[in-house]
């Protein structure tokens, strides 16, 4: 490989590398979306791909998200593996009919005859000072749509591994890229990229004994920070990074909560009808007699994503997480 940077260290670079390696390994992989070609995408994740693989493999489409996903469906019907970029979270909404009525169901509708190996990359979440419609956390919509896998990396290595796995999957995968982690760096070595991560496995990012923080994507670093800060209060927090929302790794999550007896779910998405409700409910179903306190949720407020100057109030931060941990009925301990 010549045109793609050889020293990726940010998440964005790992994603580029994953796309590159997938395209090099399999000629049926096609990247498509708005500005993904010459420009390399507004986040530069597809940088260099059009140059290396040609515009037929990395295509600037007309500006129409339903059309992008809809034509990707047809391409997948014909044996290609389209990797679609939705430029921002909120701009995936025009494609929701295609997503819900076709992408998620084609295999099912055709009794297994017509699987759709489509990867839909969606930069999501806030914390980047974006104007309205550029910071939505839309994972609840995807989670509520059977037939989709929903995956989101929190580390540079996972960005590579999970994206490779998504593209290799014979099912449609919504691949949620935390925008504010695009420029997060890691000592990940591009020359020996991690093995492809299987989809569906959560991972304990930090072991702990007092309580479990269940989280994913952009909130993982925040939870790790909170766990560090919690030591001062005498809490030893475990942090579980879900990585995959669908399928959900009940085993890893429940094992952690059974161990700690307390849990807080943390995400940026709104609370009401958001992922946290599902997670809290299933953890409670499985760990009821191990729980010292109800599973709490720290999430974005149930409001449209705020303007940049107010977003810090909205985003779950270290203090709000620790406040929730403090509400986990520690009195019962004594």
């Amino acid at each position: 490989m010549t045109t793609v940077a050889v020293k990726p260290a940010t998440m964005a670079q790992a994603l580029t590398r994953a796309l590159h390696d997938a395209m090099a390994a399999d000629p049926s992989v096609h990247v498509m979306g708005e500005d993904v070609g010459t420009l390399g995408g507004v986040f530069r994740v597809t940088d260099g791909l059009a140059k290396e693989f040609g515009e037929d493999r990395c295509t600037d489409t007309p500006l129409a998200e339903a059309g992008i996903l809809g034509t990707a469906v047809g391409m997948a019907m014909y044996g290609l593996r389209p990797v679609v970029e939705m430029q921002f979270d909120a701009f995936a909404y025009p494609a929701f009919e295609q997503l819900i009525s076709h992408v998620s169901r084609m295999r099912n509708r055709t009794h297994g005859a017509m699987p759709l190996p489509i990867t839909i990359r969606v930069p999501y979440g806030g914390g980047i000072g974006g104007v309205e419609h550029h910071s939505d956390s839309s994972e609840a919509y995807y989670m509520a749509t059977p037939g989709l896998h929903v995956v989101t990396p929190a580390t540079v290595a996972d960005a590579y591994g999970l994206l490779r796995a998504a593209i290799a999957s014979d099912d449609p995968v919504v691949f949620l890229e935390p925008k504010r982690l695009y420029w997060s760096k890691d000592s990940w070595n591009p020359e020996h990229p991690t093995d492809v991560e299987p989809i569906g496995r959560a991972v304990v990012r930090r072991p702990g004994r007092s309580a479990t923080l269940i989280t994913y994507g952009p909130s993982v670093p925040v939870c790790l920070e909170a766990a560090e800060a919690a030591r001062a209060e005498g809490w030893d927090l475990e942090v579980v990074d879900l990585r995959s929302l669908v399928p959900f790794d009940d085993e890893t999550v429940a094992a952690s909560v059974r161990r700690t007896g307390r849990a807080v779910v943390v995400h940026e998405s709104g609370s009401f009808g958001g992922p946290g409700g599902e997670i809290a409910a299933r953890v409670t179903e499985r760990c009821f007699h191990h729980l010292e306190a109800p599973v709490l949720r720290v999430a974005g407020f149930d409001i449209p994503y705020p303007p940049p100057m107010l977003e810090r109030h909205h985003l779950p931060g270290v203090d709000r997480i620790l406040d929730a941990v403090a509400r986990l009925q520690w009195e019962a301990e004594n």
């Binding site: 034509t71 469906v73 047809g74 019907m77 014909y78 009525s101």
Partner: protein, 378 residues
């Protein structure tokens, strides 16, 4: 750059980059729908083709009648009949070659059958034992599509993919007059034209979207006039003239196959039956209009031509009818058998591998069914 820097730089001339990107004239449809039957052009038609079309129309009409009867007997949940539109249905299937793809809408069961899909499997959706009843790859017929116009971008993507792979494949996608109002129609046609994808769009303008007449659907001179806005040719054809529809579609398919890009064809036809058996068309239209269209029946039109020219006699007609009756009898018989259902199918095709969550749910259902069987259940 300030205003001052600009001074003197001005030369009055058209904006630098602008020129019409294509000549619009050849993209515009003719003023009248193209017709063959009853015109001089009919003489040029291949008699074998006309006879083939005739046999298929007769079979198609019988299929529609039989399927409608099956709804009355409770064997089908619902049937959106294409009675009166058989010329479009049949011509769409026949205009394609073996390796090509058909993208039918929910009303186009007949086109799928004419392309070779098993008549019973084509009705699976409407009987309700599964969604798509046939393997789309067997005859290269995409699933009958209920969300209107959503299959059009699929056709474009498939045709584009085939072209990228160097395969000789054309996709023909069918949509109703109502479906042209959807955003997906617009986006599909635009992608097709920009990519010069080998795809043909057939709009069956049958005058209604359920109860909504065309005048409430569009103010355009014709639906074919939409083509120029995408930079593709628009063609207008009498949708009840099987020879004309077949010729226009065959031309468009050839044009696409030769790298000429997409075409939009509007076929003027009429939905003679109600929207479905569940609909009451008397609520929104009068008999006179329906009768006028019945007088322009596609089968009668072709039959007239064939008999006038001595290409069809009573024997030939009986032969076509007998073949149709044989098909209908077979359809009746097979549709009167209860389909065998397996509840495990509910979980088998959601993902390549069921998720752990689905396995749990499947186990729950299996336990319930076992209890039911054992009579243990409440």
């Amino acid at each position: 750059m300030t205003v001052m820097e600009q001074r003197g730089a001005y030369r009055p001339s058209p904006p630098p980059a602008w020129q019409p990107r294509t000549d619009p004239a050849p993209l515009l449809p003719d003023a009248e729908p193209y017709r063959v039957l009853g015109t001089e052009g009919a003489a040029k038609c291949d008699p074998a083709l006309l006879r083939r079309l005739y046999a298929e129309l007769v079979r198609g009409r019988r299929y529609n009648a039989q399927a409608t009867a099956l709804t009355k007997q409770g064997r089908l949940a619902v049937y959106p009949s294409s009675t009166g539109q058989e010329a479009c249905e049949v011509a769409a299937a026949l205009a394609l070659q073996e390796q090509d793809w058909l993208f039918p809408s929910y009303r186009d069961t007949l086109a799928a059958v004419a392309r070779g899909v098993d008549p019973v499997q084509a009705l699976t959706l409407l009987r309700g034992d599964w969604h798509t009843g046939y393997d789309p790859y067997a005859h290269r017929v995409a699933p009958l599509c209920t969300p209107l116009a959503t299959q059009l971008p699929h056709a474009v993507g498939l045709a584009h993919a085939a072209r990228l792979k160097g395969d000789d494949v054309v996709a023909l996608a069918m949509v109703g007059d109502g479906g042209t109002s959807e955003g997906d129609f617009h986006e599909a046609l635009n992608f097709a034209a920009v990519w010069q994808a080998p795809v043909v769009f057939l709009v069956q303008n049958n005058g209604f979207a359920i109860s909504v007449p065309l005048a409430k659907q569009t103010a355009a001179p014709s639906l074919a006039h939409k083509a120029v806005g995408y930079g593709m040719p628009g063609r207008l054809v009498d949708g009840n003239d099987a020879a004309a529809v077949h010729e226009v579609l065959t031309d468009a398919v050839r044009h696409a196959r030769e790298g000429g890009g997409p075409t939009l064809v509007e076929a003027i036809t009429y939905r003679v039956d109600a929207h479905t058996n569940a609909d009451d068309a008397t609520r929104y239209r009068g008999d006179a209009e329906v009768d006028a269209w019945r007088a322009h029946d596609p089968i009668a039109l072709l039959e007239h031509e064939l008999t006038e020219r001595g290409l069809l006699d009573e024997d030939g007609m009986r032969h076509a009818r007998d073949a149709a009756e044989t098909m209908a009898a077979d359809l009746r018989e097979r549709m009167n058998q209860d389909p065998v259902l397996d509840p495990a199918d509910l979980f088998a095709h959601v993902y390549a591998e069921p998720t752990p969550q689905l396995r749990e749910q499947q186990a729950l259902l299996e336990a319930e069914l076992a209890a039911e069987q054992g009579g243990e259940h409440r």
